[in-house]
């Protein structure tokens, strides 16, 4: 990774509270252009809130966000958020119609449904889909939408291992073909280690940035048995303080997580 | 021993129909020692029908054609007497209207499409060789009170109204004059000495058969009461307001125009027949589809 990457947008001392509950307590970070930035953090620390601030659907109480002027965002929300009364195809078309010429929409949706293996379900309604299939539709919608910035909240959850594997491959191929700036939230350290150019760890509420980890190895060459990655994984895991044994999950059965 | 007590229910329809009974309502004269009379006034035809059909009403003051209709519908009633002889007038701003023929080409506001006022109007117009639907425009309204409001507001120039609205109109809107008189016109058109018998007193058939004396007594008192109203409009006016929902000042003015005169049915068969016949000719339904037979009339 070139350390001095161009910056797509940046947050400056951003704070956000819900009523009395102080959530974000001065977050400052620069998101590098056309790179994948992963965000990890304890449940309820404000990751989703952070994404919604970037997406502009919520306003920060303090600080500012620069560099988002008239850029499109794709947002893969934590829940699928599909319109029950539209078929899979229509759900994706719903966000594309205003952005693409009519004739391009059909083929584009088709290709994305094929990639996510949903083509057979293109005319089903969301309520007739399985949890994972709904997640896939939301994913296809986010990817198909022409945007500079791609926000994803646990994009690969509730998919079976093989599908997850394929999907990540697809995603990387797609992203390499036409790079976008990706900011995404996950709970899977390994996944982040494979995908991200840069990983941010958030603290517990009131939330600040605990640490920043640039990936030492180019994506293509990363191997699990690479000791520098294993070391990094341990470090990151160590940052998640377990309430029960503050030693952190780095305990005996840790290897399972 | 003393004869069994009798309870009489006398029901009058609000407005001029009941005007002839106001004195009795006020003073409740004793017809006979064993008889107590209850007077009541209803505001809507529905209520009146309900009372008569259910047999609650022994005597009822209602429009003559309604009596005929009820009779034809199989309600056991007898037409006892006619109480008033027409209360319809044509009011307007334009004194130039002195005869029905002058209405040619004018717009005329009327209430009750297809009811007696409408039919009489058409009858008079046709008698003058006018076609009601072609030679002039008739604008219909549901209730006289609405039309009266419009007349007083000066929103209509020519209107046919019943009392007491005629008086209300001319009192509250000085521009308005009484131009034509249905009653006079009827006499002229039919050549009869009497006007048309608009409202009447009906009596429950059973009562009429069981207790003719009492019915006779009541009619006599009612006749006297009617005369009293004619003689002392000023005394009758407050009673009209009290019982019949006619404002006192309007009542004072309208009494002379209400042509109150109580005549027992058997004395004036022809007039009644003639009236019903006319209505029948226009629309049989106005008298219930068929003219009533002789039993309809209370016998001497």
């Amino acid at each position: 990774m070139e350390i001095k990457a161009e910056i797509e947008f940046s947050l400056h001392k951003v704070t956000k509270s819900y009523g009395a509950l102080k959530v974000l307590n001065g977050i400052s970070l620069d998101v590098a252009k056309n790179q994948i930035t992963a965000i990890l953090g304890p449940s309820g620390c404000g990751k989703t809130t952070l994404l919604s601030l970037v997406a502009g659907s919520r306003q920060p109480d303090g600080g500012e966000i620069r560099g988002l002027e008239n850029k499109n965002c794709s947002f893969l929300f934590q829940e699928p958020r599909l319109l029950d009364w539209l078929t899979v195809t229509q759900n994706i078309a719903f966000v594309l119609k205003d952005k693409l010429p009519a004739e391009e929409i059909e083929p584009k949706i088709e290709s994305f449904l094929k990639k996510t293996g949903l083509f057979a379900y293109r005319n089903s309604y969301p309520r007739r889909l399985s949890g994972g299939q709904r997640q896939l539709v939301a994913m296809a919608r986010a990817l198909a939408y022409p945007s500079r910035i791609l926000l994803m909240d646990e994009p690969f959850k509730s998919l079976d291992p093989a599908l997850k594997f394929d999907l990540i491959q697809h995603f990387l191929r797609l992203w390499t073909a036409e790079p976008r700036t990706v900011l995404y939230v996950t709970h899977e350290i390994k996944e982040a280690l494979l995908l991200a150019d840069e990983i941010y760890i958030l603290s517990q509420k009131p939330t600040v940035i605990r640490s920043r980890h640039p990936l030492p190895i180019p994506r293509s060459q990363r191997r699990y048995d690479d000791c520098s990655l294993q070391a990094l994984e341990k470090r990151i895991a160590g940052e998640f303080r377990s309430q029960d044994n503050p030693a952190g999950p780095a305990g005996k059965t840790f290897n399972f997580y | 021993e003393a004869p069994a007590r009798v309870e009489l229910n006398v029901v009058a329809l609000a407005g001029p129909t009941g005007l002839s009974l106001v004195q009795m309502m006020e003073e409740k004269p004793e017809l006979a020692p064993e008889v107590t009379v209850h007077y009541s006034v209803v505001r809507t035809p529905e209520q009146m029908t309900a009372r008569i059909v259910s047999g609650e009403a022994d005597f009822a003051a209602i429009p003559t054609n309604l009596a005929a209709v009820l009779y034809r519908r199989g309600i056991p009633i007898r037409l006892a007497a006619i109480t008033n002889w027409g209360v319809m007038y044509l009011v307007g701003k334009d004194p130039a209207v002195t005869g029905w023929e002058d209405l040619k080409g004018r717009e005329l506001a009327v209430t009750g499409r297809g009811t007696t006022p409408d039919i009489l109007l058409r009858y008079f117009l046709q008698a003058k060789g006018l076609d009601p639907d072609k030679d002039l425009t008739l604008r219909y309204y549901a209730a006289p009170v609405e039309l009266a409001q419009l007349v007083i507001a000066g929103k209509v120039d020519l209107a046919t109204l019943p009392e007491p609205w005629v008086t209300e109109a001319v009192q509250k809107n000085p521009e308005m004059k009484i131009l034509l008189d249905y009653q006079e016109e009827w006499k002229a058109a039919t050549g009869s000495s009497k006007s048309y018998p608009q409202s009447c007193l009906v009596v429950r058939a059973e009562l009429a058969e069981k207790n003719p004396g009492l019915v006779r007594e009541f009619l006599v008192r009612a006749a006297a009461a009617t005369e009293w109203v004619n003689k002392y409009p000023d005394a009758a006016a407050p009673l009209a307001e009290k019982y019949l929902f006619i404002s006192a000042e309007a009542a004072r003015g309208s009494v002379p125009r209400c042509n109150l005169q109580l005549l027992p049915a058997w004395e004036i068969r022809e007039e009644i027949d003639q009236y019903l016949q006319k209505l029948y000719d226009f629309n049989p339904e106005t008298v219930g589809g068929e003219l009533p037979d002789a039993d309809f009339y209370l016998q001497k």
């Binding site: 659907s57 205003d98 | 029908t49 519908r73 339904e285």
Partner: protein
């Protein structure tokens, strides 16, 4: 299977209509007097004699026209007003008193004005509007207020054009509210139109005819007309239900 359901529905429908009629004749039998409550027999007799007359269709048409016009106008207006009220709480607070005023002002106070302002033909439309408009507005507003904010957020983030959000998100989301409003509104429309016709006595119109029949105590005819109105109501209600079902069953 689909078919069997329809068959079922049809049977049910028929039987329940039969039920209504039986109930009716029972009550009629108890009441006894035709002049108060004519039974089905007398009523349908009167209905037949009505139907054969050419006028019948003119009157029916006139009322149909007024009711439909009044309903359509108020429905569209209510849809617009409701959306605004639902989206903008301030507008809602400001508009609501007006709504309530319209809703609870006794017709008696309005009828005379209506008579002055409009031709007798149009009064019915006006009065219908005054009843149906607030109904629709209310339902739509309450529907909009309860749309899942997450879906709206999604549409906003993806910069979907407001009108399309309205058309493709709001309207389908509040479809059940719209359905309820339509069913209620349509049902009331006929009733109110007829009532207004009674007051405005236009040359043609079921209301005027009913009034005439009533004055001459032709109660069977009054009821015949009533049946006609109810059938109108039933017919349009079925049509409506069919449409809604189709739209909703698809994705349920």
């Amino acid at each position: 299977m689909r078919i069997s359901i329809y068959k079922n529905n049809f049977l049910l429908l028929a039987s329940s209509l039969l039920g209504v009629i039986l109930l009716w004749s029972a009550v009629a039998a108890v009441t006894g007097k035709e002049i108060i409550l004519p039974g089905p027999a007398a009523t349908f007799g009167a209905l037949l004699t009505l139907i054969v007359s050419a006028d019948f269709w003119c009157h029916l048409g006139a009322t149909l026209l007024r009711g439909a016009a009044g309903f359509t106008l108020s429905y569209l207006a209510g849809l617009a007003a409701g959306v605004i009220c639902g989206l903008n709480p301030y507008f809602n607070t400001a508009f609501r008193p007006l709504l309530v005023t319209i809703r609870s002002t006794p017709s008696m106070s309005l009828i005379l004005l209506a008579l002055i302002w409009f031709r007798a033909d149009f009064v019915a439309v006006f009065v219908t509007f005054l009843v149906v408009f607030p109904l629709v507005t209310q339902n739509v507003a309450d529907g909009i207020k309860n749309i899942d904010p997450n879906l709206v957020e999604m549409a906003r983030v993806y910069r979907v054009k407001p009108f399309r959000i309205y058309k493709e998100l709001y309207v389908p989301a509040i479809l059940p509210y719209l359905a309820a409003a339509a069913a209620n509104g349509l049902g009331l429309a006929w009733k109110v139109t007829v009532a207004a016709e009674v007051m405005a006595v236009p040359a043609r119109g079921i209301g005027a005819e009913m009034d005439k029949a009533r004055i001459f105590l032709q109660i069977p005819e009054v009821f015949a007309w009533t049946v006609v109105v109810v059938l109108l109501g039933l017919f349009f209600d079925r049509a409506l239900e069919a449409i809604v079902e189709k739209r909703i069953l698809a994705w349920k």
